[in-house]
């Protein structure tokens, strides 16, 4: 099955990104494909490489980057939502790409299941 994941909230402020990450790992472990993770609204804030996290806590951006490196998952950060929140190419972490909102429509068409993580 092809899964799509949509994340609407930023790191730390809400659990959405944590839940999405653990869900994504389980999707992969069950042998499914993740067509794309799409970061929209405050979700775009997960993509900054400037996050500097205390050692006793999880590093949300690095965790996402590592998951993509290991399994080749595509992460798209909505350009319109990113711009108004100050997420630009210069601060983008590895394996995140800025892309158009249309790539969310593409994902909704392509994925057998699109699962939203939100506030």
């Amino acid at each position: 099955m092809k899964f799509g994941i949509l994340i609407l909230e930023g790191p730390y402020q809400h659990e959405a990104s944590d839940s999405a990450y653990n869900f994504a790992k389980a999707v992969i472990e069950k042998g499914h494909e993740i067509s794309r993770v799409f970061f929209y609204q405050d979700g775009v804030l997960n993509a900054t490489k400037l996050m500097d996290v205390q050692r006793d806590d999880r590093h949300i951006q690095e965790r996402w980057t590592d998951l993509s490196k290991e399994h080749g998952i595509e992460y798209i950060v909505c350009v319109a939502a990113a711009k108004r929140r100050g997420i630009v190419d210069e601060v983008l972490a590895e394996n995140f790409k800025i892309g158009g909102l249309g790539m969310l429509t593409d994902l909704a068409i392509e994925a057998d299941r699109l699962v939203t993580f939100r506030a």
Binding site: E15, S19, N22, F23, V115, T116
Partner: protein, 96 residues
């Protein structure tokens, strides 16, 4: 449809809103702060039991453990993340 609820029913109306639309028989997954709806002995237990007459109610184990909850309302089914994926394999899903 799988109806996903992530807000505390003590604070948010999202579970009750969802129930106005959810067909009988559609499963409900409580995750994140939504799992507090499954607290045994709470003021919402009677209402949750009514809901469970028409819906299978699941809680995400990881979120239950994170919050230190041991006693769940009888009949609530626990799933791990793999079980969560299983529910989404079997059902289209919406997040309220």
């Amino acid at each position: 449809m799988l109806h996903m609820i992530n807000k505390s029913p003590f604070e948010s109306n999202s579970l009750e809103d969802c129930l106005r639309y959810a067909s009988d028989g559609s499963p409900i997954l409580l995750y994140e702060d939504g799992i507090y709806g499954a607290l045994a002995g709470s003021a919402l237990e009677a209402r949750m039991k009514e809901i469970m007459a028409n819906h299978d109610v699941y809680v995400l184990k990881a979120d239950v453990a994170l919050r230190g909850i041991e006693k769940l309302i009888d009949g609530v089914k626990e799933v791990d993340y793999s079980g969560f994926v299983g529910l989404v394999e079997e059902n289209k899903a919406v997040s309220w």
